[in-house]
């Protein structure tokens, strides 16, 4: 916990974005997480991504459940809508918010306990429903708030701080998201903002369910030798499949790589998502291939990171439900509640 408040003064050359805001205007209140917590880096990455995209803070809804991770929405985007909900129930609340106002940009922040244990069912179903949101998991493999028990994402054989190995197979949220219909799936690391920030930017611009699993080490309970979610282990074992970069205007060709290839995807707003494939054979549009790759990497003791799967033409919840293009909260009472006659007509149609 930090008791010295962060001064409002900022670097004299801090860039000002299209809205006239600096990155500092996208911050939240001062974090009360442990010093060095990976989650704070994830919050900083969200702040940077939103500032660089010049997104208006008041158009965001940030929702979370319970846990260290779920405290973090307080620490970014001060001037946005937020709801700190019940343990594991972020997906329900954010689905409601998104259905009521489809123009909101929705960020759900959850943790490995919140999403892979108590909220596993909610996680599965919000992915199935393809809610248009960024679902971000701060994954540290441990229950930090209750002093370091293994969580459901902790790898089998990874040890506790005292040295005891974990006896159970991990739940891999990335594989589940791929299976259940997420149209943007990525994994990253809180200690690598060069990879993480562009992924968050691309996910925010993606239409549909975007899922990012961020390995975010717990400095208090899961950053020791023997842990597979420590800063050191992840740095040594992360394998980037595809690096993503969101750019505006013409893609700039910066270098000619001997290995790997480049590809560009035009996003709904005209910006361009540039993909740099580290492994030339990797196909980020192939869901089954992505699943296999992730599993294979895991089998080899490596951590697959980067943009693993993207479907640029995916449908989202509102498309499936064929809802009106106008946000429900902007409809007049007449349109929302057409009256008895309309109801009777519908009922008649079902007889």
């Amino acid at each position: 916990m930090t008791f010295v408040t962060k001064p409002r003064v900022h670097h004299p050359n801090l860039p000002i974005n299209e809205l006239g805001l600096t990155r500092r205007d996208y911050e939240g209140s001062i974090s009360t997480l442990c010093a060095g917590c990976g989650h704070d880096s994830v919050s900083a990455a969200i702040v940077q991504a939103c500032a660089e995209l010049s997104l208006p803070p008041h158009r965001f809804a940030k929702v979370s459940g319970i846990g260290c991770s779920s405290k973090t929405p307080s620490y970014f985007l001060n001037r946005s809508h937020g709801f700190n909900s019940v343990h594991g129930r972020m997906p329900s609340v954010i689905t409601g918010a998104n259905l009521a106002n489809r123009d909101l940009m929705c960020i759900g922040v959850s943790g490995d306990g919140d999403s892979a244990s108590i909220g596993l069912g909610q996680f599965a179903h919000v992915v199935r429903r393809r809610t248009n949101m960024l679902y971000l998991v701060d994954n540290n493999g441990t229950y930090g708030l209750t002093k370091g028990q293994f969580s459901a994402t902790n790898d089998k054989g990874s040890t506790s701080k005292k040295g005891a190995p974990n006896l159970y197979e991990p739940i891999d949220l990335v594989s589940m998201a791929l299976q259940l219909g997420a149209s943007f799936v990525a994994r990253s690391f809180s200690g690598d903002k060069r990879q993480l920030v562009p992924l968050i930017k691309a996910a925010l611009k993606h239409k549909g369910m975007a899922f990012i699993d961020v390995i975010s080490p717990c400095v208090a309970f899961n950053n020791h030798a023997g842990s597979t979610k420590s800063f050191e282990f992840v740095r040594e074992h992360m394998q980037s499949a595809v690096q993503a970069d969101l750019i505006f205007g013409q893609p700039e060709i910066t270098a000619d790589y001997a290995q790997g290839t480049r590809e560009s995807i035009t996003m709904p707003d005209g910006s361009i998502l540039q993909l740099y494939k580290v492994d030339a054979d990797y196909d980020p549009y192939d869901r089954i291939g992505a699943l296999t790759y992730v599993q294979k990497m895991h089998e080899e003791g490596q951590v697959a990171t980067g943009l693993l799967y993207v479907d640029p033409d995916a449908v989202e919840c509102h498309d499936i439900l064929e809802t009106t293009a106008t946000p429900l909260n902007a409809l007049s009472e007449d349109a929302l509640c057409p009256g008895n006659e309309a109801l009777t007509a519908i009922n008649q149609g079902c007889r």
Binding site: V4, P7, H11, L14, A35, S190, G191, F231, E232, R235
Partner: protein, 603 residues
Amino acid sequence: MPLFVAHVAMEPTNIFDPNYFHKVVDCQYACPAHTPVPEYIRLIAQERYTQAYMLNWDSNVFPGVLGRTCDRPCEPACRRVRTEETPVAICRLKRAAADNKGDLTPYLPHVPTEKNGKRIALIGAGPASLAVARDLLPFGYEVHLFEQDEKGGGFMRSQIPAFRLPEEVLDEEVERILDMGVHCHFGQAIDSLKALMAQDFDAYFVGTGAPRGRDLELTGRDQVDEYIHIGIDWLSSVAFGHVSEIKGKVIVMGGGNTAMDCCRTSLRLGAESVMVVVRSAFEVMKASEWEKEDAMREGIPIINNRPPKEFVHENGKLKGVLFECVTPVRGDDGRLRYEPSGEPEEFIECDHVLMAIGQDNHCPWIERDLGINFDKWDCPELDEITLQSTNPKVFFGGDSAFGPENIIWASAHAHRAAISIHLYCQGRDLKNDRPPEGVNLLSTKMGVHEWAYDAAHDPAKRHLVPLVEHESSLNNLEVEVELGFDAQLAAQEAQRCLNCDVQTVFSDNLCIECDACVDICPMDCISFVENQPEAELRQTLTAPALNAEQDLYVSNGLKTGRVMVKDEDVCLHCGLCAERCPTNAWDMQRSVVHVPQLGSFGE
């Protein structure tokens, strides 16, 4: 053989080099005497004025005088200029320490009654000689001070008007030194160094300032001698009561601090009107910003870009001055040049002209056959470090050494000269045996989230110093214009200090590269990057480090092969990096810079 351009990554920073962290303390580094500014400001914040005063006294010898009159090289250097525009009012705080101090007796150095047998002659009782006396006396030297005036103080007494520096403030600080046991020979001009040297002192220190005010040889100059006054001589006559009024219209020529003192003094001595006419443009005037403001606040017009051409007179009675009109043009080299503006020449009516266009060194009383070499500007040839002249027994300091500077430079010279005189008298090497510079680093960590300094950043704007009522000051030469900060204002202003001497010290072996410091730093000072040559490295940081005058703090290689690079430029020393560091790789450590002074010998 082909020549290769070196493309080498930066070396890790050696933080134990005394100069590294000294440079981070911008104010202290800019101060010629290297007064530990943040430390005394903290003492003021704790209402320990006496200790704050003594810290100053040790370093710059005249805190009460300097708190009112210093040229303040520290203030433009203040980090706050780079982070939030206005510097901490360092000079005003120094005065607050002097105004509120208690009894100094217990803190003053002990002067031994048994002397060491060495006799030193100091010529001129200005700040340089007085400071040399202060440094030498506790070491048992017999110090003789020679001065043509009846009182000590030199130009602090003769040229700084009382409305800026009250006499009692000066008397107190001069007498404190004289009371340490100086043998004073006042009221007798030294007109021959040779004669003085016949008295066989062990060493001589010349601190006679730059006593000759410049004059202008223009048409009509000789005919109107009666109405033309050399600024510094005139101020001196006012200070000693020989002149008590000036009648009619006054033109002050010159754009330095002497010109500002001349015009404000004229106003108080009854001049009908006063204006300052300057050859050059307003922004290149030599006078300090605040002295120009003070003059203008008193309603004195400053007219720029007017080189004088002729003194106009009628039968030997001055009628006015004819000026040319020029326009400043900035050349490609960035320097100003002046071209005729095409306007007709301007005649300004006046009854008196005060010349404040500069001063020169002038030592007619030093015979040229004493082995002391002089250059073409009449400045002595000196060793820049030891201040020893080509006659090994004779040392120079203050304005008489390298030409006109200010009081704080005189103090700085005096410390250097005192070391040299001591080494010379003890038969030691003047260069190799000097005490070295040093730095101590002390952790300020008191516990979890507790630091031995007030780390929180205060966004307050610079506090203005209260002034005396306009009317009462303009009619009386003796009324001090600035009232100074009271204890409350001083405490508030002290909070603005960023504590730049509390350093961010990084231990690379503890760092786990979690980025917590990068994320929390409000000024984006910290980066973890691939090491590169400095020019490239500066561009690749979280915020590009464009101020090349400020150093980069580069660590050894970390586990990932990257290095930590901290741009010292706009760091607030708020300690958040250390607060957020899970492994204590960052620590806030107070750097205490040891500037060599005679006391550094520990003898």
